[in-house]
């Protein structure tokens, strides 16, 4: 049990660090709905995995998320459809298709519940090492490209003038974000995963004095929320992901009132 718990905690901590940084880009680019859409669309990958009788459907879900990320990116760039509407259409098509496939499956499907609300305690060795390596690669990608990705998102005109290939960087960012979201489903589930992206940077923005400060505080808040969330889950037998999100939500509410009430003093 201790080993399972330790592995779950390690994975959740790594993913929460990735989310704490990616969340900054997601908020600036107003892509929270994209993350939500990709997470919900992953139900199709899960359903296909079930139908094919696979014991582990992580690869199918990853392939599906990459295809959807590229599809949304290309349609966003080449059509005049509102990006939110685009994500919404792709997400409902794949979700409804996935639900129809799942409804044809007989018997109880416990993995489906874990998929919806998340459960890091249920994880194969393959998933553990796969997510660990992915987090390392993502962090390396972010460390070496943070400045360029931020400029592409914040000011594409300036990025273009200093010879940054905005198109490629944005596409790679969409793919990495989609991958992080679907792998994060293991811990946060389809329902809660976007909160892992949004809450830490939003809380940090209330107190950060600079961009560097925002990044470090977002990571600290994410890590503390995970540790406290695990303690709450262990002590009171709560679901892990809900405990983490509930704790960060309480910090958010306190910080929010502290910031806005102090403005009225």
């Amino acid at each position: 049990m201790a080993l399972i718990l330790a592995k779950a905690l390690i994975i959740t901590l790594w993913l929460s660090v990735v989310f704490a940084i990616f969340g900054i880009f997601v908020i600036i680019k107003r892509m929270a709905f994209f993350s939500d859409g990709i997470a919900h669309a992953a139900v199709l990958g899960l359903a296909i995995g079930f139908t094919m009788g696979l014991s582990n459907n992580i690869i199918i879900i990853i392939l599906e998320s990459i295809i959807f990320a590229i599809l949304i990116f290309l349609l966003e760039k080449n059509t005049k459809i509102n990006p939110d509407a685009l994500v919404s259409i792709i997400f409902v098509i794949s979700l409804s298709f996935g639900l129809i496939i799942l409804s044809s499956q007989k018997g109880y499907q416990p993995e489906l519940i874990n998929f919806i609300i998340g459960n890091p305690l249920v994880m194969s060795n393959f998933d553990f090492y796969f997510i660990l390596i992915f987090c390392l690669l993502t962090l390396i990608f972010i460390i070496f490209n943070f400045k360029k990705i931020l400029l592409v998102i914040l000011d594409p005109t300036e990025a273009r003038l200093i010879n940054i290939n905005s198109y490629t960087y944005e596409l790679v960012f969409y793919i990495f974000l989609a991958l992080s979201v679907v792998l994060g489903i293991k811990i946060g589930g389809v329902m809660l995963i976007t909160s892992f992206l949004i809450l830490p940077p939003t809380i940090a923005s209330f107190i950060a004095k600079s961009l560097q400060d925002l990044i470090s505080k977002s990571i600290i808040i994410a890590v503390v929320s995970v540790i406290v969330g695990y303690m709450l889950a262990y002590l009171y037998n709560f679901p892990v992901s809900a405990s983490i999100i509930l704790f960060s939500s309480i910090i958010f509410i306190l910080m929010f009132f502290n910031k806005y009430l102090s403005n009225y003093k």
């Binding site: 010879n163 923005s205 560097q212």
Partner: protein
């Protein structure tokens, strides 16, 4: 040498021709002012030159192919929307735009000699006044040693003393660093003693002449009314 050459340029936005068959050349080291009424296509022209809009025709920068020479341009936009969520400081904001990270401190010190912004370095971008933000955007456009500076109504929110200082700095940059300047402005009174050349634009080229030769009758043709702007209304 020619800094910018535009041949038969036509730009359409949603199938409407905003710029039609434009031809002009800008000499290296010159200061060119673009004037014209609202909606004449001035900002569209600048956005096309910096590679943001598709076009028909030809644009050459410093005798080179358009897209490959964009990094020799520094650009100050007409409007810049600051993200209120992001607590980025002025120094961090400038750092994002630097091509060669290693010499960042030397470069901002060099820029600071022309545009004084050192007192703003630790301020958050979302806490700057409109005039301070314009100063920061101007400083940013100089970071990578541009050969051509393109400015789109860059000081609309700057106070009068700041405006005067801005034009003095622009002239100094032009003289000391031989930077070619292309600026859109509505301040006609500045043309006479600041610019070397003036382009009058109203979807097509109305005038392309040395600044000293701009006269009241040209302005009347451009704006469709008599304008009493010193010194042009006195010129015959």
């Amino acid at each position: 040498m020619i800094a910018l050459e535009v041949k038969n340029l036509t730009v359409r936005l949603v199938n409407n021709p905003i710029i039609q068959n434009l031809n002009f050349k800008i000499k290296e080291g010159s200061i060119t002012v673009i004037i014209g009424p609202n909606g004449a296509g001035k900002t569209t022209l600048l956005k096309t030159i910096i590679g943001l809009l598709p076009y028909q025709g030809e644009i050459k920068i410093l005798d080179g192919e358009h897209k490959s020479m964009l990094s020799s341009i520094g650009y100050v936009p007409q409007v810049y929307t600051v993200d209120n969520f992001l607590p980025i400081t002025v120094k961090e904001f400038l750092y994002l735009s630097i091509i060669d990270d290693k010499n960042f401190n030397d470069k901002i010190d060099d820029v600071n000699k022309y545009v004084s912004i050192a007192h703003l370095y630790d301020k958050k971008l979302n806490q700057l006044s409109g005039g301070q933000l314009e100063r920061v955007l101007f400083a940013r456009s100089l970071l990578n040693n541009p050969k051509i500076l393109i400015l789109d109504e860059p000081i609309s929110e700057t106070d009068i003393s700041g405006q005067e200082e801005f034009y003095v700095v622009l002239k100094k940059l032009n003289q000391e660093k031989n930077i070619t300047i292309l600026i859109v402005t509505h301040e006609l009174s500045l043309i006479d003693n600041f610019a070397s050349h003036v382009l009058c634009l109203n979807h097509r080229m109305i005038c392309d002449l040395p600044a000293k030769e701009l006269k009241g009758d040209v302005l009347k043709k451009l704006y469709n009314k008599d304008l009493f702007v010193y010194p042009f209304n006195n010129k015959k």
